[in-house]
Symmetry: C2
Subunit: 364 residues, 2 copies
Amino acid sequence: MQLRIPGPTPIPEEVLQKLNKQMINHRGKEFAELIHDVTRRLKDLFQTKGDVFILTGSGTGGMEAAVVNTLSPGDRVLVVSNGFFGDRFGELAERFGAEVSWLRFEWGLAADPEAIRQALSQDNSIKAVLVTHNETSTGVTNDLASIARVVREFDKLLLVDAISSLGSIDLPVDAWGCDVVVTASQKGFMVPPGLAMVSVSDRAWQAHSRARMPRYYWDFTLAKSFLERRGQTPWTPALTTFYGLIAALKLMEEEGLPNIIARHARVARRAREGIKSLGLSLFPQEAFASNTVTAVRAPDGINVKELLRILREEHGVILAGGQERLEGRIFRIGHLGYVEEADIEEVLEALRVALPKAASRVTG
Amino acid sequence: MQLRIPGPTPIPEEVLQKLNKQMINHRGKEFAELIHDVTRRLKDLFQTKGDVFILTGSGTGGMEAAVVNTLSPGDRVLVVSNGFFGDRFGELAERFGAEVSWLRFEWGLAADPEAIRQALSQDNSIKAVLVTHNETSTGVTNDLASIARVVREFDKLLLVDAISSLGSIDLPVDAWGCDVVVTASQKGFMVPPGLAMVSVSDRAWQAHSRARMPRYYWDFTLAKSFLERRGQTPWTPALTTFYGLIAALKLMEEEGLPNIIARHARVARRAREGIKSLGLSLFPQEAFASNTVTAVRAPDGINVKELLRILREEHGVILAGGQERLEGRIFRIGHLGYVEEADIEEVLEALRVALPKAASRVTG
């Protein structure tokens, strides 16, 4: 089976083996050692000396945590969106009472840092910029380095959805000056879903001290206090995922972050070349094509649902379709976390066989 | 090792074996079948024909979901608290802007349904009653049947923290008329932490349609829509815990809910008798002593921390201490989920040996 959706990613055998470890006391010494070890290693991958917290929840829970911990109802925020997940970040902020200024880009294009500069220079009331590093729905990686530089010029808060990038695509949190960065266990970290990981900068803590959006479960003050004073989480943590995470983080340390990032770039390049050699077109602007997910335009005469079914049932290859307005128009190959070029070769070979079948079955 | 804290509970071997299953597509057919199967079985254990949702998060996340999905800022709620977790429920509601009327009972005593009747008859503005079924911090099970009857008389909304009771202690959700009932995977369900399960009554849905507390991650409307239309969760679910949950639910179905409830009663009785035969006293009012956790007064001259250390290091028995004002004053034996009388015998034998040691080491 080739599970090639953009998360959850397959789990390496060394990690899988740790998942059936028996429960321990989450308020005891063994867990305290585990969470401190995991947190220290995560800080290396976030490339931060700031705080990193591990929250029991999905990545979207981490996005909610980023918003409710740093903003107040009525705060104006600039939401930079070029896809489904950018829209989610803004919708979430609206739900909690933020006044959202939308800066939308065509799906498939990258967000333009200059447009962000203009938006910030035109409206001084903006307190924070919300941005998606890697837009999983369109296969675009935004130029976060440049975006962060602009946000820093204007001294605004920068909240980043890095769910499908951190640990796979370079994101030096401190060097770029990102304030809250959110990622999740089932992406580059190669463990099951169920943990969100967030970094919190000094600037984010200052915002936090004034932020009045209601929060309890996701509260960073509670997370910090329990972590530092007791080596615990405020609420019972997803222990099994922690067992997997420490094993995966050791694998990642062995490989080394620069090598991991280079592997993702290499695998993604192979995916893009292979797609083009099959006569297919990439959906995104190629200069910003993501190294963790490749979005492919469905060729004329191909029913995406039928293609995905053939790939799954006849080839054991699981790809993702398009989301929302892209449903039926694209399909997506996930290549993050536990992935090598050989996996992509299998996907490409399956596509080579399946595409004509999908075409004939629809038209025939 | 005897992990006898009130959750996470030990995981049966049959469940542990399922936890290292490889990832699947959480937006595919296999997961749709899994979530429908799990949900159907959970409804049997909740004894409800209403909705049941599985949320990726800790039990406290489920409590937050109960509050934010049914209430508006400024709503007056009656919080019935006789312990640490009752206080948590009320504090959470306050954080989201509810006006809390506290009805507090001495820790160790049960909540008095007559006092609830008085409180409700004195203040017609109360919209909801928040109550803890099983107060894990003191080892007290409240008389939820009677409390629910009172709440129904006044036609108020009833939100129940049943985290350490449901699936272990009888809680017929529909028969008693409970509106939102929250439990969690690492308790009676014998799986790792990381999933909260909530039932939602018709009355709760009516409240939901008017409820204005901000919500996104925990939103019941999204949960219902994704479950019913696609067999999915809105956000990536904790797949590994789902794998365990379906295995555990099959074990629970084999044993049968009445037998499970009887086993918990039997094991708890043995724990209480054993504790008394060691010359120790129960902390709670015995008539309301919980069938999932036994709280024991620390005898004079015993340092609880030292006792727990000896039990852990010399006997492999892990018990819990007291929380907040009960720290150092009690210790607690968890006996929920995967537990038999033989486990309690081991705990009692370890206590018999450890107690004099803990006494002599402190006084000596």
